[in-house]
Symmetry: C2
Subunit: 121 residues, 2 copies
């Protein structure tokens, strides 16, 4: 009954917003996220949509959910799943092919990556 016109599902957009805040250090390990219903009000989404994002984030070990208590930021994983690494390489391949096509230098890509890594852990 909603959805205006997007290229990415709302629950995925929310996932990336949370992931970015974790990577930027805005959300610290152990910190409690707003409840499903609170986050729904904040983001203007349906609680079910937020729940879907939370569930997916837990499957990726980004957050930990304790029924009855809430959801909390988890510490970063030490080793990467093989399937995840493949997905990452595929995505990076797409980016690189596209960059090469429009004459963006590899050094430009390198510096973009380093900028993001430079932010506090």
């Amino acid at each position: 009954m909603a959805q205006i016109q997007r290229n990415q599902p709302l629950y995925e957009q929310l996932m990336w917003r949370i992931k970015a805040q974790v990577a930027a250090g805005v959300l610290v390990i152990g910190e409690k996220l707003p409840s499903v219903r609170e986050m729904a009000l904040i983001e203007g989404l349906n609680p079910n949509t937020v729940a879907k994002a939370y569930k997916a984030l837990e499957a990726q070990n980004v957050i930990e959910t304790v029924t009855g208590k809430g959801t909390f930021i988890r510490r970063n994983g030490e080793n990467a799943d093989n399937e995840l690494v493949e997905q990452l390489k595929n995505k990076l391949t797409e980016v690189t092919i596209e960059a090469k096509r429009v004459s963006i230098s590899p050094n430009q890509l390198h510096s973009w990556i380093d900028e993001l890594y430079g932010e506090k852990q």
Copy 2:
């Protein structure tokens, strides 16, 4: 009436297959692609789906289509569209955040990029 179970639309998959062949030098500038109906037979797709991919590829200046003649590989663009650059940076940001989360070093990302750039133009 089809679609088995995928994370990416068939027409986008075809787009990336063609883009990759261009980047790898398998498809040369000016080369003629199979017709919509031929490609449909080759790839096991509906002609409409192939046409959708071709149309999108032309919108991205990857191929050139001449009605009545066929579709041909175009030379690489010299300058990048601002909107395209933004999309690229967003995608690269997602990759970097994810890599950082699973403790993949920036140098690892750099070498993956360089490998892809190393292939013949």
